[in-house]
């Protein structure tokens, strides 16, 4: 799936192994609450996690 916009990244658990974020995907009209994980079987899910950790979508807030 192709995403076009990501906002509001925040840690999803105390271990900081997942990041919740709001994502707009092509073909889905509404903002999607999404959990990004490095273990996601979907490649864009892993990519979103990596980019969020790097700060591409702003600092990751504490959950």
């Amino acid at each position: 799936m192709q995403y076009t916009h990501v906002s509001n990244p925040r840690w999803a658990n105390p271990e900081k192994t997942m990041i919740d974020m709001d994502v707009i995907f092509e073909g889905i009209p509404d903002v999607v609450p999404f959990t990004a994980s490095p273990d996601d079987p979907m490649d864009y899910g892993r990519e979103l996690f990596d980019r969020a950790v790097k700060g591409d979508f702003g600092p990751v807030a504490e959950g």
């Binding site: 799936m1 999803a12 658990n13 997942m18 919740d20 994502v23 995907f25 889905i28 999607v32 609450p33 999404f34 959990t35 990004a36 994980s37 273990d39 996601d40 079987p41 979907m42 899910g45």
Partner: protein, 377 residues
């Protein structure tokens, strides 16, 4: 009383009336008719053909006569003898006499003149010791300035162009046709299809010979590189193929023809460019699977190969994010859910976004918060 002096030449007359004959003290009784005739003759002689004079370094110009011929004797004329200030005369020269420009003989554009037979020039005795050439022309029509000669019939073309304010473009020969390819020529409107319609090209012509420009390859011409007939052709080096854009008239079909090889006059066969208004047909797609129609077994195999938690998979999950119930279709992030079992034991959180495909109800008991979810993003 003294008798009046009868004038004989224009030089006997004076611009001041009182200095002319007869004087007031003269006895004009028997000479008045002679005086009238003399003045009439002097006037008429100013507008007459004078005797020819031979060319000389100091050309003897008579004081009377409006036109005279200069025969060739000396090869150069440096000065004219004085007549009187204001004296004007047309001189008609024989061939091969050189008039040298100087402060005493002022010639057009400060340039020497080499006469041709019957060249006729007008001069005026501007002041003592100074003659100026005012105008001139060729009597022979065959030697007159002609438009088609592009000033080629002038003795000194560079000086003439400078006097006319012409730049170097005046040296160029104009293109003789829309496809005239002679280098250095001045392009006409429509040359090679610029500024007017495309140039119609009806013969089988190689890309190397077709100069850069806009062309219509007419329908009866074998179009050896394919593509469309409305063509922007880009030549390389004047005789080699560059590349080409084209459009098949009145369609959405666009083509690009690439260069073939170094020094080649040929292009590669035109490749069609697919656009939103000209999408490729199934047969145009390369490296596609032999069949595309999904089968029951193929679909089942594909689904069975989805990883746990992949988009499109179902999972039995417990919703920990609320004690309220959720209706079918509710969506949450994976971090709110846990993999579960029918006893509502919980494991790890799935990634992604999930849609509730069953329902949950309000209760503190996890049993009522465990349901079937579909990952949709």
């Amino acid at each position: 009383m003294p008798t009046p002096t009868i004038p004989n030449s224009i030089t006997d007359l004076d611009p001041i009336a009182a200095n002319n004959s007869p004087k007031g003290s003269d006895d004009t009784g028997g000479a008045i008719d002679d005086l009238f005739r003399a003045h009439a003759a002097i006037i008429r002689k100013q507008f007459s053909v004078a005797e020819s004079v031979p060319s000389a370094e100091n050309l003897p110009v008579p004081a009377e006569g409006s036109f005279l011929k200069v025969t060739k004797s000396a090869t150069e004329i440096l000065t004219f003898s004085d007549a009187f200030p204001g004296r004007a005369v047309y001189l008609c020269f024989e061939d091969g006499i050189t008039l040298r420009h100087s402060a005493a003989l002022i010639l057009p554009a400060a340039a020497d003149i080499v006469t041709q037979a019957d060249d006729t020039l007008m001069f005026v005795n501007e002041e003592a010791g100074v003659w100026r050439c005012l105008a001139g022309w060729k009597i022979d029509a065959g030697k007159m300035l002609a438009k088609v000669s592009n000033l080629d019939d002038l003795e000194d073309k560079e000086v003439a162009r400078a006097n006319l304010g012409l730049g170097s473009a005046a040296l160029a020969t104009i293109q003789t046709g829309y496809a005239d390819t002679n280098l250095g020529r001045a392009m006409i409107v429509g040359g090679f299809g610029l500024g007017a319609g495309m140039v119609s090209q009806s013969t089988n012509i190689s890309a190397g010979s077709l100069q850069t420009g806009f062309y219509y390859i007419s329908a009866d011409a074998p179009y050896i590189y394919g593509g469309g007939r409305f063509t922007l052709n880009m030549n390389y080096g004047g005789d080699k193929a560059g590349w080409r854009l084209s459009n098949e008239p009145y369609t959405n079909r666009l083509f690009i023809s690439g260069s073939n090889s170094s020094g080649s006059v040929a292009l590669k066969k035109a490749a069609e460019v697919y656009t939103t208004d000209n999408k490729p047909a199934w047969g145009d797609v390369q490296d596609k699977p032999s069949t595309f129609a999904p089968t029951v077994s193929g679909t089942g195999t594909a689904i069975s190969q989805l990883a746990v938690g992949a988009v499109g998979t179902y999972a039995l999950l417990t919703d920990l994010s609320t004690t309220s119930g959720r209706s079918p279709g509710a969506t949450v992030a994976g971090s709110n859910l846990r993999y579960s079992n029918t006893y509502s034991d919980t494991g790890t959180a799935p990634p992604g976004s999930w849609r509730l495909m069953g329902m949950t109800t309000s209760a503190d008991n996890n049993n009522r918060h465990t349901s079937l979810w579909l990952r949709y993003a």
